[in-house]
């Protein structure tokens, strides 16, 4: 019989439940053939404007839907529904991020097989969403030119969990004296080799390149799963 304090090894990820659920979601998405992209950024970086323009364009060629996370209000979902895409708002109350369980609940009654693309707009926050896998294939981090070139240095973790950076509001770059090369340099210091798009959802500049990339990635993913099936 042992007595007194002793150390027992456990080795358990403490967001294990989220990780397991995210993995199950990812498998579900792949089986259904829907390509899932999440968007993270600070509040006001233009996630909704980016998504709005993307949904309007994609809705003409693809079956597309979106989940939109916010602390409160249905405003973003209403705005995005004008594209004709199916949109569901997730209001988190006081929670500062989306997690895999919220995604699963929001998709409960959806037939994912009917979708080509699903976008997930996270709550505007550059800190907390970094810890939570949502089962997405790609994570875009958006950063607007009005935020300053050194944002990635202040929030390296979110840039490290993302796959692609989208520099938004590029039409304002000159007005706010945004140094594009300096911004790219800081992004690639934090995440060497990171793919960067420069877009304006307002003028449409750079959006086509971004969409083409998404469509190529989806085609690759489908080709890959057809091979393994």
């Amino acid at each position: 019989m042992m007595s007194g304090p002793r150390l027992v090894e456990v080795r358990q990820k403490f967001l294990k439940q989220n990780d397991l659920l995210a993995r199950a979601l990812r498998e579900w998405f792949r089986r259904a053939g829907v390509y899932v992209v999440s968007l993270v950024s600070s509040p006001g970086s233009g996630k909704t404007a980016f998504l709005e323009r993307t949904l309007h364009d994609f809705a003409r060629r693809h079956s597309v839907a979106a989940l939109v996370g916010d602390l409160a209000t249905e405003n973003d979902a209403q705005r995005l529904r004008r594209s004709g895409a199916r949109v569901r708002q997730i209001t988190t109350g006081t929670v500062c991020h989306l997690d895999a369980a919220m995604i699963e609940r929001a998709l409960e009654d959806w037939r994912l097989e009917e979708l080509d693309f699903l976008f997930i707009e996270n709550v505007g926050n550059l800190v907390c969403p970094a810890s939570y896998d949502l089962g997405e294939e790609l994570r875009f981090v958006l950063m607007s030119v009005t935020e300053g070139e050194d944002k990635p240095l202040k929030y390296p973790t979110i840039f490290n969990t993302a796959d692609v950076t989208v520099l938004t509001k590029i039409d304002l770059a000159t007005a706010v004296e945004f140094d594009l090369e300096a911004a790219k340099e800081t992004i690639r210091a934090v995440r060497p080799g990171m793919l960067i798009f420069e877009v304006s959802a307002k003028t449409g500049a750079g959006m086509i390149e971004c969409w083409r990339y998404l469509e190529e990635r989806r085609n690759e993913a489908r080709a890959g799963s057809a091979l393994s099936a």
């Binding site: 150390l7 080795r11 403490f14 810890s131 390296p156 973790t157």
Partner: protein, 113 residues
Amino acid sequence: MHELSIALSIVDLAAEEAERRGVKVNAVHLRLGPLAGVVKDALLFSYDLACEGTPLDKSRLIIEEVPVMVHCSRCETDREPISLQDLRCSVCGDPTYEIVQGREMEIAALEVE
């Protein structure tokens, strides 16, 4: 600030483990990477709150900070980067493309009796 919800998951996991083993937990040992997106001080602060009214009340949280490691293809080995803001190899200065350590968020061990 999501550390409180993370503290609650830690307490749940540790309490479950303690019940399964039929032991009392004095301390929880964590391994935390700087790229986990969790602030150590906020987590320590939240932990005491999360423990209240649970079998882990008055237990301690001990956090081991795990350094970030990247794979350097020029050195052909894992290295520390220059900094979190500059993921080049701290030895040869080449950019690195693979983070091999630094996202850890795990309960490593429980101190029990």
